[in-house]
Structures are given as C-alpha cells and as structure tokens.
C-alpha cells in the first residue's frame, strides 16, 4: 500500500524538519482515512449483499436448527444394520445390488474418459486458433474465443437435458454433453497457455518455409505438451464427478440408480452407492495426480 502521488511537488527551497514532518503526517492521515473509507463502504455493500441474498435464498437458521434431529435420523437410516457376528452376510445384504452398481459406475468412468478425450482433442486444435500470437487471423481468433466461451458457460447438465431430448436416454447424450462443455473449459486454458509460449522457437520453424499447421506441431506443441496433458488430466477428475450426476436427467451412469435410491427412501442403497462412487472418484484422482506428476516432471527437466 503506497502513498499515492498527490501531484505534490517539492518547493525550491529547503524545508525545515518540523515542517516536513507535518506534511508527512497529513499525507499519512489522508491516506489512512481514504483506506478506512474504502473498507467501510465496501464492507457496507458486502453486508447489504449478504442480507439480500439471505432473504432471497430463504435462509432460515431457526428452521435448520429445528430440522437437526431430522438430519440425524436421515443419516441414521443410511447406516445399515451391521453387527460383528453376522458381518459378512450383513455386508452382502448392504451391497446386494453391488454388481449392477459396479457396471453403472464403470459406465460413469467411461463417459468421463471419452468425454474428456473428445473435448481435449477438439480443444487442442481450436486453442491454436484462439491464441492471439499464433492465430492465422484476428477474426478467426475472435470466433474461436467466443465459441469456447459459449461452450463452457452453459452448464453440462443443461446440455445433457437437451441432448437426452435429441439423442435419447442413455450415455450417448452424457458423453456429448460433457465433451462439449469440456471443450470450452479446456480450450480456454489451452489457449491462455499457448499465448505464453516462446515465439522465437516458432519463428525458427516458420523460417524454414513450414506451413501454419506444421509450425504449430513442431514449434508450439513440444513447448506446450506437458501443460496440455496436465490440464486434460485435471479435467478428467472434474468430469468423473460431473458424469456421476448425469443419470439424474437420464444421460447415463450411476446417477440414475442413486437418484432412484434416494427418492424411494432406500437409504442404505444410497449410502452403498455413495461409498462406491467416492471410492471410484478417489481412485481416479490418485491416478490422475500421479500421471500429472510424471508429465510435469519430464516437462520441468527442460526448465533447468
């Protein structure tokens, strides 16, 4: 926080020490007052926003307190009856539809894998068009950026609902919806990274007479590859979670089963499915982190 320039110029002759101290004290006080005022006004606006939001959002803390026991009973019903004596049969009963759920979970992971791959491949090509230093033409860049924005602004489930209507119930709609949204999200990240690459290396390739595509492949991709892979893997983690709720609108995966279980109050089923889902998500996260570590590790080697 620096004392801002007040267009105050030093007078020609020397000032006495006392006078200088006085000027400084005044400027300091003015600055502190201004900071105080900004914080006060900002804080006030913030409080107003919170109150307005709480009103629209129907926040009712008393109601929440009243419902706390319901919370506990709900949770209680999710926990199955398991006793140590009949541990194995109890577990088997808890997961009695385990195989069905496993298949649905596998479908969920597949949806995420395919959607992320399709989205990333499309994003790879478009990102070069959307990067201002690499794009063949400013108009192309504009269109590319707007397309990416549109794709990532609309939530995945909105796409999913529309696609279920068009393509029918099932994972096909889910893959397309996730892929489209991922294309936008990842494309923006790729383009931003591409704008920061070393232009000299690209000039070197261009000077040999290579065309635009060759220049991107040999000049840009070697620099950006590890970053692209890293963002793609991160997107995979996000997409597995997104894929798990696609079933709520009929777009495939374990969502359908989970939704049914909760709505029909088969809460032990719901808890079993949730546990399997969490395990799957954690597994994918760990795999993705490990891969990302390997990829970035190799990349970093060059930044010696």
């Amino acid at each position: 926080m620096s004392v801002r320039d007040e267009h105050w110029t030093a007078p020609a002759q020397e000032l006495s020490l006392a006078r200088r101290k006085q000027i400084f004290a005044e400027a300091y006080r003015r600055e502190r007052l201004r900071t105080w005022r900004i914080w006060l006004v900002g804080g006030g606006v913030f409080v107003v926003m919170v109150i307005a939001a709480a009103d629209i959002g129907e926040v009712d803390l008393v109601h929440l307190w009243d419902r706390l026991p319901r919370f506990r009973s709900y949770f209680g019903r999710m926990v199955p009856d398991i006793s140590l004596e009949s541990l194995w049969p109890d577990l088997q009963r808890w997961f009695r539809r385990g195989w069905v759920w496993l298949r649905a979970l596998w479908e969920t992971v597949l949806i995420a894998l395919y959607a992320t791959s399709f989205g990333c491949i499309a994003a790879y090509f478009v990102s070069f068009l959307a990067a201002d230093n690499l794009s063949p033409h400013p108009a192309v860049r504009f269109v590319a950026r707007r397309t990416l924005e549109f794709a990532r602004t609309i939530p995945e489930l909105v796409y999913a609902i529309i696609f279920v209507f068009s393509f029918g119930i099932g994972p096909l709609a889910g893959v397309l919806a996730l892929a489209l949204h991922s294309f936008g999200a990842v494309g923006k990240l790729f383009a931003d990274v591409a704008e920061n690459c070393d232009r000299e290396q690209i000039r070197g390739v261009r000077a040999t007479g290579a065309n635009w595509m060759q220049t991107m492949i040999y000049g840009a991709t070697p620099q950006l590859g590890p970053d692209f892979l890293s963002y793609g893997l991160y997107r995979l983690e996000i997409n597995v979670r997104a894929a798990s709720v696609l079933g709520f609108v009929g777009a495939g995966g374990i969502g359908q089963e989970l939704y049914n279980a909760i709505k029909t109050f088969r809460l032990t089923d719901a808890s079993a499915i949730s546990l399997m889902l969490i395990a799957a998500v954690i597994a994918v996260d760990m795999l993705s982190s490990w891969l990302r570590g390997r990829v970035i590790g190799k990349g970093r080697l060059s930044e010696a």
Binding site: E200, R206, A207, N211, M213, Q214, I217, Y218, S302
Partner: protein
C-alpha cells in the same frame, strides 16, 4: 529502413555492419519476409519476392534459410528432429505434418550434422547443448533446406570466442564449398575483415557503404558507425 538499394551476386559472402538499432536485422528479415517491407521491390533472379504468397512464399523461405542470434531451435526436441524440420517444405509435404520424415530427409540431416561434427549429439535434446553447438545445429537445419541463400542474423553475438570461430568457419566453408550466398549481420569489424568478401554498411536505416572488404577504410567505418565510441565498441 530508408531507400536502401543494393545488389548481391550469387556465391558472395556479404557482411552487413552498423550500430545496433541501425536496421541490420530489419534488412535481413525483409529478405525472407518475416518482416514486410512497406514499399519497394526485392528481386531474386528477376522475380519480385514481395508479391509472393502462400506456397510461393513458403518455397522462397525454404530457399533463404535463416540462422538466428538466439538459435531459435525447438528446445524440447532432439537435435536430429530440429535439423529435420528444415525439410518440412520439401515435397511430399503432407506426411511430414504428422512427424513422418522420409529416409532421404533423415540421411540429409545426419550428413549435415556430420559435416559440422555434431552427429554424436544427434539424439540429445537441443537444450542440452552449448551455445556454439546449438548454433551449428541451426546451421545444419539451414543446410538441409538446400537453400540458395543463408541469412545469418547476428549468428555469433551470443557466443564465446572459440564457438564464434567454429560457427564463422562453418559458414565460410559452406559458402566456399557449395556456393551458397551468405549474408550475415556482424557486430565485429574484425570478423568482417576475416571472413567476408563484401560489406554493406547501414547507418540509421540508410545504406552508407557498399563495396569489397578491402575498401573498408577508417573514413568509411566512421560513416557507418557515426562516432568514434561506437566504432571502438565494434573493434
């Protein structure tokens, strides 16, 4: 640049000298159209290259290979791949966009590296090499383009004296053995005298000297560099 007019014959080794900021880089970059001239013509074998577009322009860029001060190699790729990128515009073009180089391209690259004593480093990553070695890799890349002209923009400005000699020797050898025209920007008058036949002097965007190297006397140097201090820095 301001009304520069010069003619370079094939097979010459030309030095372009002048103070930094005088316009030497601009001149060179206009020849292969990495910078666009605002007016005038550049004629090569009678054709105006300023009118080239698309495939013609890329073909011209293949024929005027460039060697940069910062080498401009793709750091993460291997030395061999870097050299092979010089063949990207050699027909057939399409498979090369996907990384498939032909046997002939690979052999040309290895031969070029061998010529510059670098074939033992062929599989290393470009950034593992020293400055002088990287510049020679850049020269190898220029060589496989089978160019008519090599444009060297301050090729030795970032190098130590030993590497400088190696690189200038290589350029000289290529010029002598293969008859490729070499136009290089140099910041050192001594190097100019040692390696080049002809000198073009640029001062503030204007051509102030154009002649054989033995005509480069002190008066001419003063005209080119403008002041004694600048001249001392260059010698």
């Amino acid at each position: 640049m301001d009304r520069v007019s010069a003619a370079v014959g094939s097979g010459e080794m030309v030095a372009v000298i002048g103070r930094s900021g005088a316009g030497k880089s601009t001149l060179l970059n206009m020849i292969n159209r990495l910078i666009e001239p605002t007016s005038g013509h550049i004629l090569a074998d009678g054709r105006d290259i300023c009118r080239f577009r698309g495939a013609e322009l890329r073909a011209w860029r293949r024929e005027t290979a460039m060697v940069f001060q910062k080498f401009n190699l793709v750091q993460r790729l291997s030395v061999l791949t870097n050299v092979m990128t010089g063949r990207l515009n050699h027909p057939p073009v399409l498979p090369k966009s996907f990384g498939m180089f032909f046997e002939a391209d690979r052999i040309a690259a290895i031969e070029a590296l061998a010529l510059l004593d670098l074939d033992s480093h062929a599989l290393k990553r470009a950034d593992e090499l020293s400055g002088g070695q990287q510049q020679r890799v850049a020269i190898a890349r220029a060589l496989v383009q089978e160019p008519k002209i090599i444009l060297a923009d301050e090729p030795v400005a970032s190098l130590d004296p030993l590497s400088t000699q190696a690189v200038m020797d290589a350029l000289r050898r290529i010029n002598a053995d293969r008859g490729i025209t070499v136009i290089c920007n140099l910041h050192s008058v001594a190097l100019t005298r040692q390696y080049c036949d002809r000198v073009i002097g640029i001062s503030r965007g204007r051509l102030v000297f154009d002649g054989p190297v033995d005509q480069l006397d002190d008066a001419a140097l003063l005209r080119i560099y403008g002041s004694h201090t600048a001249l001392e820095e260059a010698t």
